[in-house]
């Protein structure tokens, strides 16, 4: 078995499930012959043909709106939005149609679809190519938002998204697209959604993150372990709806929590986790809840990007503050 990257794992899951489920349609800008600008759909057109892998006109709202119609007809659309920074024309369709179709028809029509898009910073891309706006979507009832952090999870979570009966936004941390390789067996086995992954177990502090920031978080955990601190590291993976049970359980054990997110600090997923833990587990806490996040600024262009991105150093600083609190 060859080790593959996250982007190859996305491609593998798509090809694997498309062979099993003929209702899956992949479409978007440049996804056909070109195989997607990151090559997520490479080879799919050759394998599955014009009717199942379609290059669309360049219009994000149309791509999302088309998905709404196709899903209501029993197809399983898997549109690609080329970059999350360009999803906003499609936001209307996702929020006002896809997310609420099942509810507003009282279950008569449903919207099984997986809307894939690369997101996040760290590759020195042009403006609008680096934002982390996952919280905007996680806030909308009726949607699921799933973020893989490595190739293994990209394969298993994408299969789960493709099999889910409701609309799923599958956000791919593009900084990790080719960062690491895993041996991924094409076994057709999906991971459960709405379930955190526990990457490391310890007793002294809980570090929670998702997406690309899992890599810095794990590196920080390794540093902390050198000081004799043992760490629970949790990958949230499905940020909506979130599995709070795993996080509560960890906090009950460690009493200390630091949340790491690439997105701006205010009003994000980290805020929601902090609020939930404060509401339900405040008596388990030995220290305040710490957050390491992007600044509440416009995502800077390439030159200042490094200043913006939460680093291992920032995570360590916050973790040590929480560890030393009492």
């Amino acid at each position: 078995m060859d080790a593959i990257t996250l982007i190859e794992a996305v491609n593998l899951a798509l090809a694997s499930e498309m062979a099993r489920d003929e209702s899956i349609l992949v479409f978007g800008e440049d996804v056909g012959l070109n195989g997607g600008v990151f090559r997520a759909t490479d080879g799919l057109h050759a394998k599955f043909g014009d009717d199942r892998v379609m290059d669309t006109p360049l219009a994000e709202a149309m791509i999302a709106g088309l998905s709404v119609g196709l899903a209501a007809q029993g197809f399983k659309p898997v549109p690609e939005i080329q970059f999350m920074g360009f999803v906003f024309p499609a936001f209307n369709q996702i929020a006002t149609a896809a997310a609420r179709m099942r509810n507003r028809t009282r279950g008569r029509l449903s919207q099984p679809m997986t809307i894939r898009m690369p997101y996040g910073g760290g590759i020195h891309a042009p403006e609008h190519h680096s934002e982390s706006t996952e919280a905007l979507f996680a806030h909308i009832p009726g949607l699921k938002v799933v973020i893989p952090s490595n190739p293994t999870r990209a394969y298993g979570l994408l299969l789960a998204a493709l099999r889910d009966p409701d609309p799923v936004l599958f956000l791919e941390p593009k900084r990790v697209y080719r960062l690491v390789k895993h041996e991924v067996e094409d076994n057709g086995e999906a991971f459960p959604l709405e379930t955190c992954f526990i990457d490391r177990e310890g007793d002294d502090i809980t570090l929670v993150s998702w997406g690309a920031m899992m890599h810095e978080t794990l590196l920080a955990a390794t540093e902390l372990e050198k000081d004799g601190v043992t760490v629970d590291v949790i990958d949230v993976a499905t940020i909506a709806p979130m599995d709070m049970g795993t996080i509560f359980e960890s906090v009950r054990k460690t009493g200390r929590l630091v949340i790491v997110q690439e997105a701006p600090r205010s009003g994000g997923i980290g805020s929601e986790i902090a609020a939930e833990v404060a509401e339900h587990e405040i008596m388990s806490l030995l220290a305040p809840i710490g957050r390491v996040a992007g600044y509440d600024t416009v995502m800077p262009y390439a030159k200042l990007e490094g200043q913006y991105m939460p680093s291992v150093e920032r995570i360590l600083e916050e973790a040590r503050r929480i560890l030393d609190f009492s």
Partner: protein, 361 residues
């Protein structure tokens, strides 16, 4: 300079403003029975709208958009559909919805604030969409459904509707563009009732017609007299037939006049010119067809009155069903949660319990 492209937009009318035929009528319109049915369908919509607005005034209905003066558009177009076609309605699509087996009491339920109004119990309406409120989003849904139909190689089509104001939205163009390039089985009706709430048509576009907006996408288009149901029906029948047989999309601009307010939440007297509105009332579609039917000689005023009375009775039956649902079988608090996802997330379950606990307290 050479001409790279040129165009003309057809205008279709069978009955003029005085209800006199200006062209040979299509076959269906030479049958008095089918004309009487169209008259009855328009009367039903008119009576229903009047009743709904009346209910709103006494607190028995929420905000409601009447189709007054636009009955020939929705009824004319919707009546051209087959059972297995799909309707993607917008908020003033009552006529089209009624024409495709969506019940009046369901439409009343929706505007009465009850989600069950978009369940659509009739199987023939089972694939029809709920009413699109965000403007022009429905054009893309129609394109999606039409893509599904085309991919499956089915002989069916989709019909959707939008106001002339809605054609200013980007999603309108995006939908027509893909319908053109993919040759989708899709019929788009533009209800040009001259007003987008308070903004007149003259401030919506510099184009001479709304129909020609489709031309830029390579979509066949024409303009029809939207007060002449024969013209609307004829154009829609041809468009539906063409779409079902692989001929691709059509856009039909139907010109009429919104004789009422935008919705019950609006007061058109703030911006309507009463003289213009008065003149428009002379051209309205129910009167137009009624006058034509009377001119044929066999049908008398009492026959038309009987149609109106029958419509009133039928509307009362639907109103009774509406009240029965609202008053005797109201939705439960749990219904807010039970159709959100196929399975309610763990995190949301305590909220459902809370809503149930608080219900009726």
């Amino acid at each position: 300079m050479k001409t790279a492209a040129s165009f003309e937009i057809g205008y279709q009318q069978y009955l003029d403003e005085n209800a006199k035929p200006v062209n040979d009528l299509p076959a269906f319109a030479r049958d008095e029975k089918s004309l009487m049915q169209m008259y009855a369908d328009m009367q039903f919509l008119r009576v229903l709208d009047k009743r709904a607005v009346g209910m709103q005034r006494i607190g028995k209905m929420r905000t409601y958009p009447s189709s007054l003066g636009q009955e020939a558009v929705g009824i004319g177009a919707g009546g051209a559909l087959n059972e297995d076609d799909v309707v993607i309605p917008y908020y003033r699509g009552t006529g089209m919805m009624l024409s495709h087996y969506i019940h009046a009491h369901e439409i009343l339920l929706y505007w009465g604030g009850d989600e069950r109004g978009t369940c659509y119990k009739d199987e023939r309406a089972g694939q029809d969409f709920p009413i699109a409120v965000p403007i022009a989003t429905q054009i893309l849904h129609a394109a999606g459904v039409a893509t599904a139909i085309k991919l499956r190689g089915e002989k069916r089509c989709v019909m959707t509707e939008i106001g002339e104001g809605g054609t200013s939205e980007g999603e309108f163009y995006e939908g027509l563009n893909v319908a053109g390039i993919w040759n989708l089985p899709m019929v788009t009706i533009v209800n040009n009732n001259q007003w987008a709430i308070s903004v007149p048509s003259a401030r919506q576009t510099k184009a001479q017609t709304y129909a020609q907006k489709a031309l830029a996408a390579g979509v066949d288009c024409l303009q029809v007299d939207g007060n002449d149901i024969i013209a609307v029906r004829d154009a829609a029948r041809q468009a539906v037939e063409k779409a079902r047989n692989g001929g691709g999309p059509t856009l039909i601009e139907a010109i009429c006049y919104r004789l009422g307010d935008h919705t019950t939440a609006d007061d058109a007297s703030r911006y309507h010119d009463p003289e213009v509105a008065k003149a428009a009332r002379e051209r309205e579609p129910v009167k137009r067809l009624g006058d034509y039917l009377l001119s044929l000689g066999n049908i008398k005023q009492k026959d038309l009155d009987a149609v109106e009375d029958a419509a009133k009775d039928k509307v009362e039956e639907e109103v009774a069903l509406y009240f029965d649902q609202l008053e005797n079988h109201p939705q439960k608090a749990a219904d807010m949660f039970d159709y959100l996802y196929a399975e309610l997330p763990e995190k949301t379950r305590p909220q459902r319990e809370e809503a149930i606990r608080r219900e009726g307290k």
